[in-house]
Symmetry: C2
Subunit: 189 residues, 2 copies
């Protein structure tokens, strides 16, 4: 039931089309929720029916028309209610971790490769998020921005995302190194 709240939270700052929202769910919003475009379109439709967002058609010349959505007062109230309700614990679900768990009982070559790919992806995402953070805080330094910035919500979740990606990168690299070394050691026996 929280996709709707993730959508509402993402729409707080600005109007977005479903398409733009889908992009946001790939970058900034992905730090706290992940969803495919189809889900977003469906959720926006539902939210509009329930009056939590309103959409307006924007006619475009050279591109397909689009619908821009914004949160209504009822939507804000719903978010308020959600914020006060108890949260479900977060959890990791990761194919790659499953593979690592099995690592010394199945072949490691493919897993090492995937760890290195993942590390590279995490590093790239880190840079992207670091750039996004710089952009969000403008000229101010972080401490000052967090004290007196207008809108810090997205910044805070990006911080979490950045920490996660860096941690993930480090772990992937370390594990890949460990598995590699073990492979060498065993070959020598």
């Amino acid at each position: 039931m929280a996709l709707r709240h993730a959508v509402l939270a993402a729409l707080l700052d600005d109007e977005y089309s479903g398409y733009q929202l889908a992009k946001a769910f790939d970058i900034g919003v992905a730090n706290f929720w992940h969803a495919l475009p189809q889900q977003l379109y469906a959720e926006l439709t539902k939210l509009e029916k329930e009056g939590l967002v309103t959409g307006r058609e924007v006619v475009q010349e050279t591109r397909p028309n689009k619908r821009l959505f914004r949160v209504t007062d009822a939507g804000r109230a719903e978010l308020e209610r959600f914020a006060a309700a108890p949260s479900k614990p977060s959890f990791i679900r990761d194919d790659l971790l499953v593979k690592v768990q099995a690592a010394d009982r199945v072949g490691t070559a493919a897993v090492i490769e995937q760890l290195e790919e993942r590390a590279a992806a995490a590093a790239a995402k880190s840079e992207l998020l670091a750039a996004l953070l710089r952009q969000l805080r403008g000229d101010a330094d972080e401490e000052e921005f967090l004290r007196s910035g207008e809108r810090i919500g997205p910044y805070l979740t990006c911080l979490r995302g950045l920490a996660f990606e860096r941690e993930h990168r480090d772990w992937c690299l370390r594990i890949a190194a460990v598995l590699k070394e073990r492979r060498t050691t065993r070959a020598e026996r």
Copy 2:
């Protein structure tokens, strides 16, 4: 489709009943996958039908009987195949992060409280995982264990879990502090 592989990976080391597995999915296995008992029982039944695990009935006197499962060769082969296939990217999904995203547009009091609760939970989980790690590596120190230990898969995923929980705790505490200070500052205006 990866719950099945998480189950297989969790069963690699030992025989477990559905009930025991459910506990493992609350502690160690939770570092890479999360599932409710009902899902596990259902998955074990399916896996048995497909010949990837075998179960044997254990009759108990003072407690209900139970079925212990172990991975078959076909199951190991399936894991092997899975390890070689490309992984889906991991992602976070967290109610609390959604609330933080909305933080300066809705009331923060409840969110601050939840952040502190969550920090405490993450700290507790960290200690639990640290203890589990100590137990897994026995007398050896980490580096040595990772070089020459028999079975390091579970250790490696626990390391990830520990890093995640610590990171999460730190973030929660920091964000709670930031939101608190802003509340004070604004009250003064």
